[in-house]
């Protein structure tokens, strides 16, 4: 004999279980599809050589390097900018119209389609500043794209630092800035790193913005400087899958590219998770 409440709980619980099971199943299916199809292509040569014969043969080395360049450059710009903006907004800005406006702008920025960022990058970085089709233009565009993510994550992280830490420090006759620097930021690092991890995934995966700001259709060599054109994994994949010389023939290479992209994102995330846990361990215990 079940009471109504108990029955309800059983139903709700089962639904939750099914939902979770579905999510796990989808992830596993996608992973299986990519790994099983891409595994055969992966070799040392695949990741260290340039594509040949109209991309139907050879490796994806330039695309890997291009993606890593993009991650590094956009992070160098977006991370400090985003964190500083978040510190200002959470710690210093007085609530008012300006702050409200800024917060709204950030929210809208987060919801803007990435192709719009691409167009903006094309107009401002490529044309107006004259950086041309380049890693620099693409990285700056991607930096703008992930800025709201980093600001939001950093703000959340700063807000979760207990008020008690700030009070304790201020009550010792320590200035606000020293308090933020010595107590608040160290305590917020795990959260900030989480934000960075999420944005690395986006930088590595975006296609539309780089398409408009610097990725070359076919670029079988390594970029010489940040002013040179480049190719990146997602774009390379897109080209292979939609406009390649022989789409069916390059199917294994497509899967291999997807697998490498997945592994790069996973690898960067693992490093970030390690950093986060390292700090978290220092904080809690």
């Amino acid at each position: 004999m079940f009471s109504n409440a108990k029955l309800n709980e059983k139903i709700a619980f089962s639904l939750l279980k099914i939902a979770m099971g579905l999510v796990v199943a989808f992830v596993l299916i996608i992973l299986y599809d990519i790994i099983s199809n891409g595994y055969g292509v992966i070799s040392l040569e695949f990741i260290t050589s340039a594509p040949r014969k109209g991309m139907t043969e050879g490796g994806i080395h330039p695309a890997i390097v291009g993606t890593l360049y993009l991650i590094t450059c956009s992070m160098i710009v977006a991370l400090p900018l985003g964190i500083l903006a978040a510190i200002y907004l959470t710690e210093y800005a007085h609530p008012g119209k300006t702050t409200w406006l800024t917060e709204m702008a950030i929210s809208n920025l987060a919801g803007t389609p990435s192709v719009v960022f691409g167009l903006f990058g094309l107009a401002v970085f490529v044309k107006y500043f004259g950086f041309g089709d380049s890693i620099l233009s693409a990285s700056l565009t991607l930096a703008l794209l992930i800025l709201p993510v980093i600001i939001r994550a950093s703000q959340e992280a700063l807000l979760t630092v207990p008020k008690e830490y700030r009070e304790a420090s201020l009550a010792l006759g320590v200035t606000k800035w020293e308090t933020i620097r010595k107590v608040v930021i160290p305590a917020a690092i795990p959260g900030i790193v989480t934000g960075a991890v999420l944005s690395i995934g986006r930088v590595a995966g975006e296609t539309a913005p780089i398409l408009l700001t610097g990725a070359a259709y076919f670029y079988p060599k390594l970029p010489g400087s940040i002013y040179s054109q480049f190719t990146a994994l997602p774009y390379h994949l897109y080209v292979l899958a939609t406009a390649g010389t022989n789409i069916a023939k390059t199917r294994p290479i497509q899967y291999g590219t997807a697998l490498v992209l997945l592994m790069i994102v996973l690898g960067v995330n693992l490093i970030a998770i390690y950093i986060r846990n390292h700090y978290r361990k220092k904080l809690q215990r």
Partner: protein
């Protein structure tokens, strides 16, 4: 209000009013707090005792919309005057909070935090840390594990660490904001003993919900009600023979 304290007056407050926005939270508070003694603020929740305590080291400055009028003199200096450096004031008037709030650092670094930022030379830091921990009655328990995280200590030890951290910046006054409310009776007893020892060298003001605690450790007691200071006097007198009916009702538990 009596002013003939044995050791003189440390904090003199005259006509202090405080508003949170439009809410008039403290009404015309005047009180003289004696040097080298323990003064307790008691009263029901929301009576303004903690708010008033935070006026004494200007922690209320951090709250938007908080406005203060009146004089607060600490050792003869008007702490709300324009040329007072708030940061410097808080060095002189330390504070220990309700919840033990050690920083997520080692025991040593917690104590060294204040002196380091205030520019004390590296070779002097260790001595200061040891002295502060000894004065905070914690040295014996932690001297052999100064490198472990302060968060590994028990609640009572954490609170004594916080007291030691305050002592390390060498204040004149220490404000305690319900320091034992999250501690068990044994830890509470240790903190109370420590407070009684500290009054030799510091002026101590303590806000407490626990009337018995006020009775046990304070020399003077102030009773607050709805933002008014109802009665202030020697603790023995307040608890044996209060002048005001409201005080008597509160301390005998007949309140309300």
């Amino acid at each position: 209000m009596s002013d003939d304290f044995a050791n003189g007056t440390e904090i003199a407050v005259k006509g202090l009013n405080l508003w949170y926005g439009k809410n008039h939270a403290l009404h015309d508070i005047s009180i003289n707090i004696p040097k080298n003694s323990v003064t307790a603020f008691i009263g029901p929740s929301g009576c303004g005792k903690s708010t008033f305590l935070r006026c004494l080291n200007r922690m209320n400055d951090l709250i938007p919309g908080c406005r203060i009028e009146g004089d607060v003199n600490i050792n003869g200096e008007d702490i709300y005057s324009k040329d007072v450096d708030v940061v410097d004031l808080r060095k002189r008037v330390g504070m220990v909070f309700q919840k033990p709030n050690p920083f997520p650092m080692s025991i040593h670094d917690n104590i060294a935090y204040g002196p380091r930022i205030h520019g004390i030379k590296k070779k002097e830091i260790d001595g200061i840390v040891e002295g502060a921990l000894k004065a905070g009655a914690l040295w014996g328990e932690v001297s052999d594990r100064m490198g472990i995280s302060a968060l590994d200590l028990s609640g009572g030890q954490q609170q004594r660490l916080c007291i030691a951290r305050t002592l390390a910046v060498k204040p004149e006054v220490i404000l305690f904001d319900e320091p034992c409310s999250s501690l068990d009776p044994i830890s509470t007893g240790k903190i109370e003993d420590l407070i009684l020892k500290l009054k030799k060298d510091y002026t101590i003001v303590i806000v407490t919900h626990n009337m018995q605690q006020a009775a046990r450790i304070s020399d003077y007691t102030a009773f607050f009600l709805l933002g008014d200071l109802i009665e202030f006097g020697k603790t023995g007198q307040i608890f044996e023979n209060p002048r005001e009916k409201a005080t008597e009702d509160y301390i005998t538990g007949r309140f309300g």
